[in-house]
Each structure stands twice: as structure tokens, then as C-alpha cells.
Symmetry: C2
Subunit: 165 residues, 2 copies
DNA sequence: TACGATCTTCACGTTCACGTCAACTTCTTG
DNA sequence: CAAGAAGTTGACGTGAACGTGAAGATCGTA
């Protein structure tokens, strides 16, 4: 597992202590405000292994990067836009982590056979997610189509009314 | 409020006792099986004013019509496909009830002015719902687009790999 | 370095959408 | 009409996703 992925999994990591606090380090309250949730929610996400702050101070205070905030926003999107529960979301974001790991491995890999294997795994992960989303999108579009048909029917009736007073 | 709407709101109604049990009357267990939920869930939906059985026996047993089942399925769709909570769904289905009331009023109405007013109200209700759905659909399609772009990129890399071994 | 704002970790409370058990009644079928 | 299946109300239990203190440690600024 990569360094970044380990941090996001909330693991201590084998590296030299806690990750360095970058220049864009936000405190939990600031990050929460940006995401639009409570600090409790951010701690809860970390508890579930969804989003771990990429830095911590010596005293143990969480420090969130912009990428962390983006990740939180993504979780919210998957939650409310897609209707996934946090457990499903964990699966999804971990798959996405794995994909960005694979990207790095891809650049490092020399042998075409290895590259092919990496690509295959990434494609499988991506396709799986795509299927889930596609399913929802299709049914939602159908729903929207119904509503639009009704709206059209109303407009039709309206013009008919206006035509013959 | 119309007869049907009163029944679905779970009100006793001023009519001559409970609604007659039609030929297509399903027991709660059968209706639940068709919808794919538990009997508890159907009672809960009634409790919230979402779906009330259109008939009851003298003894007080609920009898669901096919329309009731369809209504339950609609609730499930709004719940899982759209991600609305049951309170929002109550607002939506009540708006839809109001629309079908308006349809009846429309046919009964003689004066064009009255018809125009009815139509306006129906259009407002429909547009409101349509906006909510449209918003979700747009963002979901964008999400899907990202995934498809990635998939295309993977396919591209794959063919490049196969081309030059 | 003092101090108030912000953070930390428990730990229990809350809301939603039901699940589940109990005690009893009703329905249907032989 | 007996009996078992299914239904009724009522009340309490449950998992998810947090909310809400409590008690204390830490951070940033004067």
C-alpha cells in the first residue's frame, strides 16, 4: 500500500512518525466548514476509514489538506447524490485509491506484461463503479422523461386554452 | 379533498364507512411481497401518511389494491433511486395526489379561466419536482461522464500496449 | 507566558426507517 | 366450526449517521 493510501486508511505507517504538516494544512473546524459538515462528522469519517487527515500536529490535532477536503466533498456527493451508504462509499473510495496507486505503479513498471496486468485491474475497478452509476443514471433519466412528458402535456393544454377563448 | 386522496391520507372520511373491498384486494402480506418490503414497512408508510390501503375488512384488516402497490413501489423508487427521505417523499406524493385531483377538477370545470388556474397549479407542482430530479440527473451524468472518460483512457493505453510489444 | 479559542478522546443521546416480540383477533380452509 | 395461518395494535429494540456534553490538552496570539 502506498504512503498516501496508508494515511487515508488511518494507519500509523512505517515512516518516520506523523506526516509533515504542509503549508495548506487546515484545522478540523476549517475543513468542516469548507465541506459543510460538523467536526464530529469528519472524525466519524476517519473512524470508518473514509477520510483521514493527511497531517497531525505533535499534540495530536488533525490537519487537513485541500485534497482531504476534496475527498470529503466526494464522500458527501456519493452519499447524497448517489445514495450510497458510508460502507459502500468506503469500498468505492478505496477502489479509487487503488487506482491511483496503480497509476504510480504503471509509470514505474518496465515490462509490458506488468503494465497489462495493472491496466486490467484498473479497468475492472472502473467498470464495476461505472455499472453501479450507470444503473442509477438510466432509471433516473426514465423518471425525468416521465416528468418532462407531463410538462409537455400541460403546455399543450395551455396553448389550446389560449387559442380558443 | 377528493375521496381517493382522503383514503391515502389515512383519514376516516365522511362517507358511508370504510371503502368497499374491490376484487383486486390484496392482504398486507401479499402486497408487501409484491413491493419487496415487510408488512411492518407498509404499516409504517400508512403511519406517516404515505400509503394507506384503499380498503379494510369489517374486522380492520388492511386490503391493498394494485394502485396501492404501485404507490408503494413509487415510494421505494423515490427513496432509493432519488435518495429522498420519507418526509420529502410525503410532500412529493401529496403533490402528485393534488395533481390527479386537479385533473378531475379540470374535466369538471367549464370556465376557461378556471381551467387556466388549474393548469397553472399543476404546472407549478410538476416543475418543482422536475427541477429536483433534473438537478440530480445532471450531476449524476457528469459523474458518469468522468468514469467513461477514464474507461476510454484505459482502453487507449491497452491498445497502445498491444500495438508495440 | 497567559489565556481564550480550538482541539482531543470518551461516552451517552437522537433521529430515521424500520425489526421484533407479545398478546390478542380475524381470516380462511378442511 | 375447529384450527392454523395471517393480521391487529402496542411497545420496545436496532443500525446508521451523526449530535451533544464533559473533562481535559493544545494552539495561536498578545
Amino acid at each position: 500500500m502506498s504512503r498516501a493510501a496508508a494515511a487515508h486508511a488511518g494507519l500509523p505507517g512505517a515512516g518516520p512518525g506523523p506526516a509533515p504538516v504542509g503549508p495548506a494544512a487546515l484545522r478540523i473546524g476549517e475543513a468542516a466548514a469548507l465541506v459543510g459538515v460538523s467536526t464530529r462528522t469528519l472524525r466519524y469519517y476517519q473512524e470508518l476509514g473514509l477520510v483521514a487527515p493527511s497531517g497531525i500536529t505533535r499534540g495530536g490535532a488533525r490537519r487537513y489538506s485541500e485534497a482531504d477536503v476534496a475527498r470529503c466533498l466526494r464522500v458527501r456527493e456519493l452519499q447524497h447524490l448517489m445514495g450510497f451508504d458510508l460502507d459502500e462509499i468506503r469500498t468505492i473510495v478505496h477502489a479509487e485509491d487503488r487506482i491511483s496507486e496503480l497509476r504510480a505503479e504503471w509509470f514505474a513498471a518496465q515490462k509490458p506484461a506488468r503494465r497489462r496486468a495493472i491496466l486490467r485491474e484498473a479497468m475492472v475497478l472502473n467498470d464495476r463503479l461505472q455499472d453501479q452509476v450507470h444503473d442509477k443514471a438510466v432509471r433516473l433519466d426514465a423518471f425525468l422523461g416521465e416528468l418532462e412528458a407531463k410538462a409537455a402535456r400541460y403546455r399543450q393544454l395551455s396553448t389550446e386554452l389560449d387559442a380558443e377563448p
